[in-house]
Amino acid sequence: MNRITKTGLAAAALTALPSLALAQDAPAPGFDEIGPYIMTTLLFCMAGFLVFFMAAGFAMLEGGLVRSKNVTMQMTKNIALYSIAAIMYWLMGFNLMYPGEFNGYVGSFFVPTALDPVGVAAADAALDYASVGSDFFFQLVFVAATASIVSGALAERIKLWPFLAFVVLLTGVLYPISGSWQWGGGWLSEAGFSDFAGSTVVHSVGGWAALAGAIVLGPRLGKYDKEGKVHPMPGSNLALATLGTFILWLGWFGFNGGSQLAMGTVGDVSDVSRIFANTNMAAAAGAVTALILTQVMYKKPDLTMVLNGALAGLVSITAEPLAPTLFGALWIGAVGGVIVVFTVPLLDKLKIDDVVGAIPVHLFAGIWGTIAVVFYNGDASLGTQLLGIAAYGVFTFIGSIVVWFILKAIFGIRVDEETEINGLDMGELGMEAYPEFSKG
């Protein structure tokens, strides 16, 4: 579903305003006129709450997969990045991503978001769409998800403030510009690229930014030895990691379902429920695939891979959660699970240290999901999908790596060796997540 209609329809409603305003004695609008607006606004609010809760899911997943000496830092990064994303998206992100009429590549910077007036009259509202507040909120929780992806990959060694500086640029500039190409009605949307809820626009973008960061930052001390052997650093709390995954799974119903962007007709509300069912199926298939594969390959199932498998299933179905049958969602999600199980060790071979598996889950499965659109959506073509994947990859990876190098040159992005070994919690924050465990 393309989001370009938003601004155009709002403008249409505004131009219709004078004639409506003159008709003072006209009867109050019936449900046929305002019902779709109310229902779609409600969809954005509910779906927005769910996607907001994904911030908690990312926090718990990451908190569980880092070692206990870095948990406070990971929580600090998660609440800070969400809050920074919310402010940056108001300050410039939202209108940069949805500029209305623009050249198709970059809209206007520094146009803060303005809400509908208090108690807006039906005649002044965008009756074909939804309230600005609900639309703005629904869009901003997506950009926060992108930033969360980066924090997981770079955990346990990046300094707090340079990381947050990157979040400012990612959520205020990089994500909104590339997002406008597709969802703002820019050049990729014109070219026929299809990405329903953001396998590429949201997840791969986060993955590319994380990959660039992981390369510039380097692996954790001791993760890879001189012979290239991998030394695993098991996470501190797999119960939290599992809770986080379930929260993300729940949040994804809002992520994909809300991206229908309309709930005012029988067709739309049915489509939203269809998306819920497909989204759930893809996650389940990804998890089961990873469960079976790790049992077969390693003789014991690996819970952390099963969690990643569920998330990879979700990312895989995000580019087209509406058109596939339930069987389609099953096999698309299952391929996502396969991708994770094989690419987590692959990144280790390349000595790219991704603490939580964010790059396999969000980037690799995101690419797969974007390609998989062509199997069930007749309007999509493989060439255009690949064009979109490449465009987002080149822009985000190069943009991110430049920002990371600049941050590295100016501030340094990595904590010193002693801080890394003692843990970022004490070194950078002077506060432990679980003080009783070490102090007695």
Partner: protein
């Protein structure tokens, strides 16, 4: 007086405690430890990468008994803690020079 130090597999602790109580042992000290012996370590796989677990969890018992009882205690531990598989543990017997019960000031065998 003898001090018997035994390292055993953690899941055998309850069985050993019962056997020792039955033959009249009235106290013991228990510590969760890690270590390696001829079992040495083993390997596990985390997220596709193999890693060595160099130290194996064990439980250490420390039991102070009269010299007359020491052989019986060693035998009880051996019989209950044995699985026949590698890693069943070891038992050491040491002489105790002096013992004192803190509450009453009783010494040596009276203090055990």
């Amino acid at each position: 007086m003898k001090l018997i130090i035994a390292t055993i597999k953690p899941f055998k602790l309850e069985e050993v405690r019962e056997a020792l109580t039955e033959i009249g042992v009235r106290g013991m000290m228990v510590t969760e430890i890690k270590g390696f012996g001829s079992q040495s370590g083993h390997t596990e796989i985390y997220r596709g990468a193999e890693y060595a677990v160099n130290f194996v969890p064990k439980v250490k018992l420390e039991i102070a008994v009269s010299a007359a009882m020491a052989d019986q205690v060693v035998e009880a531990i051996t019989n209950t803690a044995r699985t026949g598989k590698i890693g069943d543990g070891k038992i050491f017997v040491l002489d105790i020079q002096q013992a004192m019960r803190v509450r009453t000031g009783e010494t040596n065998e009276d203090a055990l």
